[in-house]
Subunit: 182 residues, 2 copies
């Protein structure tokens, strides 16, 4: 649902470009906030075209059938409406937590290993986020306003990952306590 507006947002803030460009932009920009795969981007661009939110133009300088998409005024309007919608908290939907929920069914010891492994993953993610920090700082020289908001989203990622790390630590601790009690 939001991919539609993610694409419109990119076209609005970074100017006309191709589906492939959008994919690249996604990877470098909002990937830690929203992911999109290439076929999905192409199909969504088709939808946006049908809705007249974008217009297409073949790129004559390009030999690879490159098509350049531009946001229309209707597109701008739809984007604005979406941007100003109320924020809804999305419920948690974590397969791992579902596994923890059924912890009584899992053989003793397994769960601790799983959480410990996940803890390592979160540490890596945290490092990646810190790398993104540097990228944003570079971008800030030219576009300080963008960088401000990108940093806000990155801080959300950092906070959530940090929270997960703490949960892992405390959970491992409590699983240890359980073991020694028995």
């Amino acid at each position: 649902m939001s991919l539609k507006f993610g694409i419109l947002g990119i076209l609005a803030s970074a100017g006309p470009q191709s589906g492939y460009d959008i994919k690249t932009y996604f990877e470098e920009g909002p990937s830690y906030v929203w992911q999109a795969d290439l076929p999905q981007i192409y199909r969504t661009l088709d939808q946006l075209e049908q809705a007249k939110y974008v217009v297409v133009e073949a790129d004559p300088t390009n030999a690879r059938n490159r098509k350049v998409y531009t946001i229309t005024e209707e597109g701008q309007k739809a984007l604005q409406e979406w941007l100003q919608e109320d924020f809804e908290c999305s419920p948690i939907r974590e397969a791992n937590l579902l596994r923890v929920f059924f912890g009584t069914l899992t053989p003793p010891g397994i769960l601790k290993q799983q959480v410990a492994a996940q803890r390592n993953q979160f540490t890596e993610i945290l490092q990646q986020y810190h790398a993104v920090k540097t990228l944003i700082a570079q971008h800030a020289e030219q576009y300080p306003k963008d960088a401000f908001f990108w940093t806000l989203t990155l801080q959300a990622g950092l906070k959530l990952t940090q929270a997960w790390l703490e949960w892992c630590d405390e959970t491992i601790q409590q699983l240890d306590d359980l073991e020694t009690r028995e």
Copy 2:
């Protein structure tokens, strides 16, 4: 994907029951970790039956076509495999953060209102979690082992919501700073 195992988990830990019972169990139990709507539960039960992970039996004492599902040994085996799978961190996919990412496009002031409203939602969720805490404590008298793991999942919810609250506060602060700078 995980609904399949959520249902198997419920059948394994709470015994044979109907699709409707499972829906009720979901609402009272893992709803803050995984959600399921009734049609989806019925369809998934059909799949589980075809996979021979559950067997069905009509309830003769019930006038409403009630069907009781029981997990099979294959089902137990599949559930165990799923339970012991490695934990994978699922990437963040938050429409709200995507909106923040395009903050330069949003009219000044709007974003602060959106985040403030979301902050209120998170406060309510936090209160709901504390209410669940009491429910689990009651359950703990009969099933202390269950309660232990349920509390672990609840703590994840609390931690994440707390992290979101902090992010909201800091973001509002930074948006205020931006306003005064201009």
